[in-house]
Symmetry: C2
Subunit: 458 residues, 2 copies
């Protein structure tokens, strides 16, 4: 008899994992809180775009959905940085023309749901899980104000996001460590419509950033020629959501800080007023599992801020690693599988949360700094010169399957190395000197030893 | 018409605060989850003893209960440190024979409840608050499995401990920062009975510590001649709760690590097996208030580990500061009062949590270290030599009303100062040298400037 698995949440991670598990031979049911988004114009929740990178593609490939998503994905080869004055600057993400991909969250989710159903997964919509009894694995479900119990499963997997119902039950168990914290910034979405004949009004092959030190605007391309913009902005303070109250203040703010964007967003004042300001939470917790009965995955285990574009990517990697572990073990030995899953993923969930917080500083502040831009260039050169030894943290995170924990751990060694290189002067000039090239070989050897030590320890 | 206040929890903090507010002219009701502990042999919850110090006495004094509690309090003038081998060492807490006081939690709680009722407070027992609607301030209360609503108040104050029901409702609000984490150690209570004719089998004027690096046993005196012992011990690992499973293992453990205690605890194996192992949580959160409607106080706002003996003391200080703020403002301007309360207390709640975590290291490890004992002696000497400038962090915390935040902030400056002094050699010898005394004057001046800067900044 097949084992039965109930997944909470038919979002990106829940739908992908359901497909993978059903294909593996389990009988999977998804309980989704919302109505079926395919039957109306319902928002997918949260932001409209996401940035798909290596780890995301790997998850889709496992499910056989890579080719179909490639058709709706727009490659972004780097950051197009827009200062207040002067020309914008293009900064490539990778040294080999790698890209991250702008994908519509809603489109992707619809495809994943349909694929899951095609594989035999039963998705039940409008099912709000209000409580979980951990010992009996019984779910209390509210449907149209009526509450019923559900326990027809051997395993419960919560892919129900940053405010997971299962995790709420974990919170009441003894010795459950839990942390949720908000950054002082929120976000608001705006839209740059397509130009004439669905033309793009900005370079479509880049992620656009208007870095303004304590806040920033970004824009990602959509298939229809429009761009989805997101303003990341403090809730409180002198220049903040709370300080912009009148039409006049909103207009002056955009004119002052985003003069090149103003003409592209026709209704910026109206949109600013009518679109919500949403908060940004990070969640860390432990354990991620309860005995052999249930587990957390994706945002439910590690909600992160969006600044590395890794939320969905990390969740898909959770799925891939879980499937690896199932393949390496007796398929129903949940005690062992869940324990190995938690052991392998917890440090990476924490690491990607920290990377994402760090990258906000980089995006809103550092990318406007010429020294930082120079550093990013040198990182790529070093990667080309020493391909077996050096790969920038950004590239590890976005274009490899290197563990997040390892990538984060390498950050300090990279900082030290780059500081040495940059202290020697302009990189192109330095390279003319034999003494520098000898020094560089030595520094690289030191770096290699440091990261080797990290690898051994982790 | 009097304003009505509902307090959740008739523990130490809830009962004291109810008394203070009722005396101020408010109409106070307490809802207590448990039955009336005065009507039976119910445990007061958590540990049996507590260590009352300056901040605790100040709270009792406000309520007029200081003299009555002094009658049931046993002064402990220092730590009696018991190494595995050799004589025990007495280390005074203060430079002027200050003491902390062993008080029975249950006795104190009963006195506080009775005082509250004598002042006109209405304590309703067996009332389990299961949910709070923050906007309407409506409490859902379960009494004998029947649920009813209660909202007859202008303000709700949660003094309902580390797992506060009100804080659970705060947790669901946007932008509420929350952290709960457990240390790897739990605790188990044991008992050293009185000797013949209610005699004390250990020095009754000290807090006894058996420091064993990664774990420790402590003992506090009771009025009846017995001592309450608490073993702080890792849950997992080579020597841990999980490793002691047989009678033999338990006996050998006590024989090996606590040979002088073994003869004093007649049923140590039985007690070890039958008494629960409890976990130790720290909680930090923000905000502590909701609009002008409700607030958290004591452990509900800042649950801490017990190693500084400051849990109740910090809660009583919360009460005193809240009463100060009420006195300085319009008595019903809750928006302003709650905002000031949070502003003044949040940093101190976090600081005492950190101090308590630090003190575990000190108690279980450092007090067995001769260098550390020497340092503690020098601290007292410095306090006598420079009374206007230098006061050890321990003395600030236990024997003054200096803010926890300031005390914690001074730690680093004290570490630096003491390191300089101790590097010069044995303090008594050093003092013979004019050069050293000149250096010391200079170091003290530097220290004074550093702590002045901390004071100005905070």
């Amino acid at each position: 008899m097949n084992q039965k698995i109930t997944i909470l949440g038919a979002g990106l991670v829940g739908s992908l994992l359901a497909t993978l598990l059903q294909k593996k031979g389990y009988e999977v049911t998804i309980l989704e809180r919302r109505l079926d988004m395919r039957k109306g114009n319902l928002a997918a929740g949260r932001s409209i775009n996401l940035a798909m990178s290596q780890r995301g593609w790997a998850g889709l490939e496992l499910a056989g959905l890579k080719a179909a998503v490639e058709e709706i994905a727009i490659p972004m080869y780097g950051r197009q940085i827009h200062p207040i004055e002067g020309e914008s600057i293009f900064q490539a993400y990778g040294k080999n023309e790698e890209a991250i991909y702008s994908v519509s969250r809603g489109e992707l989710n619809r495809k994943l749901m349909t694929l899951a159903e095609d594989c035999g997964v039963n998705i039940r919509f409008n099912q709000k899980v209000i409580d979980v009894s951990l010992e009996t694995n019984t779910l209390q479900i509210e449907v149209d104000s009526r509450i019923s119990s559900y326990d027809e499963h051997d395993l419960v997997i919560a892919a129900d996001g940053a405010f997971s119902a299962l995790r709420n039950s974990y919170l009441k168990t003894d010795r459950f460590d839990y942390q949720q914290f908000y950054i002082p910034h929120g976000y608001k979405e705006l839209n740059i419509p397509a130009g004439a004949r669905n033309s793009f009004q900005l370079n479509k092959t880049a992620l656009h950033i208007w870095p303004r030190i304590n806040f920033m605007l970004i824009a990602l391309p959509n298939l229809d020629g429009s761009f989805t913009c997101t303003l990341f902005f403090p809730f409180e303070g002198e220049v903040s959501f709370s300080s912009l109250t009148t039409d006049q203040e909103i207009r002056l703010f955009f004119e002052k800080y985003f003069p090149d964007v103003m003409p592209l967003i026709p209704n910026v004042v109206e949109d600013f007023k009518s679109n919500p300001s949403s908060s940004l939470v990070t969640v860390k917790c432990f354990p991620w599992i309860y005995k052999d009965k249930s587990m957390l995955i994706g945002d439910a285990a590690h909600a992160i801020v969006p600044f590395y574009g890794q939320g969905m990517n990390a969740g898909f990697e959770d799925c891939r690693i879980l499937m690896d572990i199932i393949a390496e073990n007796h398929t129903n030995d949940w005690k062992n599988i869940l324990s190995l899953y938690q052991q392998r993923r917890k440090i990476n969930g924490d690491a990607v949360a920290d990377l994402a917080l760090q990258n906000f500083i980089e995006m809103r502040d550092l990318v406007a700094d010429p020294i930082f831009l120079e550093r990013k260039k040198i990182e790529k050169e070093l990667g080309k010169m020493f391909p077996d030894v050096f790969n920038s943290v950004y590239e590890m995170v976005s274009f490899s399957h290197t563990s997040y924990f390892y990538a984060l751990s390498c950050q300090k060694a990279q900082d030290t190395l780059l500081e040495k290189v940059m202290n020697a002067g302009r990189f192109e000039d330095s390279l003319q000197s034999t003494a520098f090239r000898n020094d560089l070989e030595l520094w690289i050897a030191t770096y290699a030893a440091e990261v080797k030590a990290i690898e051994t320890a982790s």
